[in-house]
Symmetry: C2
Subunit: 105 residues, 2 copies
DNA sequence: CAGCTATATAACTGTCAAGGCATCTACGGA
DNA sequence: TCCGTAGATGCCTTGACAGTTATATAGCTG
C-alpha cells in the first residue's frame, strides 16, 4: 500500500477537483457539491474513497461533516516520484524554461 | 491535458511496473515481458498507452522495439503536486521520520 | 415528538478497460 | 524464398467503478 493506491484514487478527475477545493481549507460536503457538477451522493462516495485512501480527514460539526486534506499519501507519491527526478533534472537545457513556468504561478 | 492524463495512466500497477523496469535503461518488449506476469500482448498494450501519454519513447532495433522513459509527463505530475507540498512541509514534527525513511533507500 | 437539514448508503445501470487467445506484420537468417 | 522470431492488433469476456435515483440515518429546532 505505497503511493500506488493514492495514484489509483487520484486518477479520478472529480477526486482531484475535491482535493483542489480543499486546498482552500475545510469544506462541508454541501460546499463541495455546490462547486461540482455531480450529485451529492456521488460527492459523498468520492469522499469515502479519498478518506479510505487517507487523502482526507473528516470531523463532524452538527449535521455537517467537514473534510480537509491529509497530505500523507501525497507525500508518499512525492517519494515515489523521487527516483524519476534524475531523468529530467539532468536535462539542464530544459531546466530554465521549467523554472520560468513555475515562477509564474 | 495536464498531469491529469499521466495520473490516469499511472493508476495501472502494471504500467508503473514497466516504468520501474525502464529506470534501469532501455528495454525490449521481450525483456519487459520476462519480468512481468502478464502476456506479451498485454505488455504491448500497456506500452502503447504509455507511449500515447508521452511517458515512454521507442526506437526500432531490427525486429525489436527498445523502450525508454520519457520524463516529461512525470515532470508535469511533479508540478501538479507542488501546491500540495506546503501541506506536509509545514509539519516539522513528521519531517524527521520522513527523512529517516528516505535515507534507507 | 414532528419536521427539516445534511450526509450516507442501497440498488441499479452503463461504460470502460485490462487481460487472454488468436492472428497479422515486419524483419532477419539459412 | 521459407522459416523463425519479435511485436502489434483484433476480438471477446469479465470485472470494476462512476453516476443516478430513492431511501436511510443523524442531528437540530420548534
Amino acid at each position: 500500500m505505497g503511493s500506488s493506491s493514492a495514484l489509483g484514487v487520484l486518477a479520478e478527475p472529480s477526486r482531484r477537483e475535491i482535493l483542489d477545493l480543499l486546498r482552500g481549507g475545510e469544506q462541508s460536503v454541501g460546499d463541495l457539491v455546490g462547486h461540482m457538477r455531480i450529485s451529492q451522493p456521488a460527492v459523498s462516495k468520492h469522499l469515502r474513497v479519498l478518506k479510505e485512501a487517507g487523502l482526507v480527514d473528516a470531523r463532524a460539526d452538527a449535521q455537517r461533516r467537514l473534510y480537509r486534506i491529509n497530505p500523507g499519501p501525497l507525500e508518499e507519491l512525492d517519494d515515489w516520484l523521487a527516483p524519476y527526478r534524475g531523468f529530467w533534472a539532468a536535462r539542464l537545457d530544459h531546466l530554465e524554461s521549467h523554472l520560468d513556468r513555475r515562477r509564474k504561478r
